[in-house]
């Protein structure tokens, strides 16, 4: 592979079409998205098949622990009441991002031509971030009748200065939110594949990819938590009633 081909492959990581459904190209990132979705649906079906008041199955226990942990985490940001109301969105994001991040650490999976961990593809994280942006605007209008936008005019004297800054800040959010997640996971995948290449040449350096994998396990969890937390912070700010 020439330098040119490598750079092109890196910049369009996971974006060449595998096949077409009508006019829509299906890329390996989309297939990865389907795989993660199927896994989460299977998990949800397995858990909710036999729900019990006092959970007997191990799986139900684990997921109840996860949901309660996420609830206590988000209620630190927006209070327990609103945390229950808005929990489905941050919790879904957390589960999806975590499973997607960890799917990149399964040794063979990311090197298959038809699979890319969805969150290592900018298109996927950008989609998530745009949804967060739109949901924040929807919440601000529906819950507080636009009172959220008052912060744009906060010091009345400085409005001509602060209004453009506030609008830019609001519009930059989806960029930073999506770029942070994508860059972290993509950097991890790249570092891992480089390390594996080094081990193929010098087998003596085997601990190197193991160390990177351990680092990526922490980073994958933290990035999922960051995305969830920031979603909760934005939604919490948009739905806050000022008295």
């Amino acid at each position: 592979m020439s330098t040119h081909e490598f750079a092109l492959a890196a910049s369009e990581h996971g974006s060449d079409a595998l096949f077409y459904i009508g006019p829509a190209p299906v890329t390996s990132a989309v297939v990865g998205l389907w795989a993660v979705m199927a896994f989460i649906l299977l998990l949800a079906w397995l858990v909710t098949r036999r729900l019990e008041m006092v959970p007997n199955s191990r799986l139900q226990n684990v997921l109840e622990l996860a949901i309660e942990g996420l609830h206590s985490w988000t209620s630190r940001i927006m209070g327990p009441e609103r945390a229950w109301r808005y929990l489905p969105i941050p919790a879904t994001f957390f589960l999806f991002i975590l499973i997607s991040n960890y799917s990149g650490l399964i040794p063979i999976l990311p090197h298959l031509p038809w699979y890319v961990p969805p969150t290592s593809h900018w298109g996927v994280t950008a989609g998530l971030a745009v949804f967060v942006f739109l949901f924040v605007q929807y919440t601000a209008v529906k819950e507080t009748r636009g009172a959220y936008y008052k912060h744009l005019f906060d010091p009345p004297l400085l409005t001509p200065l602060m209004l453009p800054l506030g609008i830019i800040e609001e519009l930059v959010r989806p960029f930073s939110l999506s770029l942070r997640l994508f860059a972290n996971i993509f950097a991890g995948e790249t570092a891992l594949s480089v390390m594996i290449g080094i081990v193929a040449a010098i087998p003596f350096l085997l601990p190197l990819p193991i160390f990177v994998t351990a680092l990526e396990m922490v980073a994958g969890f933290v990035q999922a938590l960051i995305f969830t937390t920031l979603t909760a912070v934005y939604v919490g700010a948009a739905s806050e009633h000022h008295h």
Binding site: T3, H4, A7, L8, A10, S11, E12, H13, W73, R76, W122, S176, L179, R180, F182, A183, N184, F186, A187, V222, Q223, L225, I226, T229
Partner: protein
């Protein structure tokens, strides 16, 4: 005679190293301040820890923005 790809690679590596220095310094300061706070008030460890993770991720993302930009621009330079 330096090719544009070679120049881009040199500049890219250098800017990544520069942003890594900045990020490492900032993360070190953040972590040391957090540990100071925990040492002073061990009962606040939980709150400090969650704030620490959040701020470390914010700092780290700046370095990774540079990394992502290099990859995205690499396709333009060589393409």
């Amino acid at each position: 005679m330096i090719s544009s790809i070679g120049l881009f690679a040199a500049v890219g590596i250098f800017s990544l190293a520069l942003s890594a220095i900045g990020g490492a310094t900032a993360q070190g300061r953040t972590a040391s301040a957090a540990f100071d706070a925990v040492a002073r008030q061990p009962e606040a460890a939980g709150n400090v820890q969650s704030a620490l993770i959040l701020s470390l991720a914010f700092i780290e993302s700046l370095t990774l923005f540079v990394f992502a930009m290099i990859f995205i621009l690499a396709g333009r330079v060589t393409g």
